[in-house]
Subunit: 151 residues, 2 copies
């Protein structure tokens, strides 16, 4: 079991490895081993109407699911390649201010099975729900399938 | 019927109105009134593996569908608010070089009906397929529903 990754260290790594994340107004994520919350500013993510650009929101939601899958595996001592495989996205409300992108890991039973599949076959997957939330309002919901495989 | 919008003018407008598009390596789109192709460089859109970041690709695909809906309506003389409502996204192959994001309008019969719905009800929608393509390889396919309404 590796140590808990800090939000500061994880954000620095995102910005180093994925250049677009330098331009998306991200501030320090909150990761407690179960839930990941990534706060983002509206200003760099606006559209022509001054509300949240759908492309920014879906990019950040996709990133959030990738991030929690990566954090979970690394804390289990596994350095896998993680990719998004498919997603369904619903745009529920416009975003009119700063927002949070958040997701949480499935139950321990699901995680245990996914981990044992990875150890047996060198490949596993997680199904995640990711939300873009402004205050109490869910603006976007993404259901994504993330695949991890031996690099 | 308004004049054909030039790719140069449309790209300048995207960069002015949607700040994230200044950081996505877009070059001049090709728009012929039926198909829209938006070329993009890989470098600003890479992930930790040096291939295309899924978040960049889905953002650009979402933008491409929004763009063709906007261009179609404006060339029909309509200034509507256009938003993406929902999408299904499949990540088929990694992107390893510069790529094109492309979509095309539905048949004229579908467009005529969508336009007459807008004129009757002040609201309409288009279902579009958008692809991210590197050479002959389709890397991502997005099925999106875009809604246009009176601002």
């Amino acid at each position: 079991m590796a140590e808990r990754v800090s939000g500061e260290a994880f954000l620095a790594r995102l910005k180093r490895e994925i250049p677009l994340t330098c331009h998306m107004g991200l501030s320090t994520p909150n990761w407690n081993g179960q839930q990941l919350q990534m706060p983002a500013a509206l200003a760099p993510n606006v559209n022509d109407k001054g509300t949240g650009f759908g492309g920014s929101q879906v990019a950040l939601a996709t990133l959030c699911g990738w991030s929690i899958t990566t954090l979970w595996l690394e804390e289990a001592g596994i350095k896998a390649s993680v990719v998004v495989k498919e997603s369904q996205v619903e745009y529920l409300k416009p975003v009119t201010g700063d927002f949070v992108v958040e997701t949480e890991l499935p139950t321990q039973a699901v995680l245990d099975e996914a981990l044992s599949r990875y150890r047996d076959r060198g490949r596993t997957r997680l199904n995640l729900e990711v939300r873009v939330r402004q205050g109490e309002t869910v603006a976007l919901r993404l259901q994504g399938q993330y695949v991890a495989f031996e690099p």
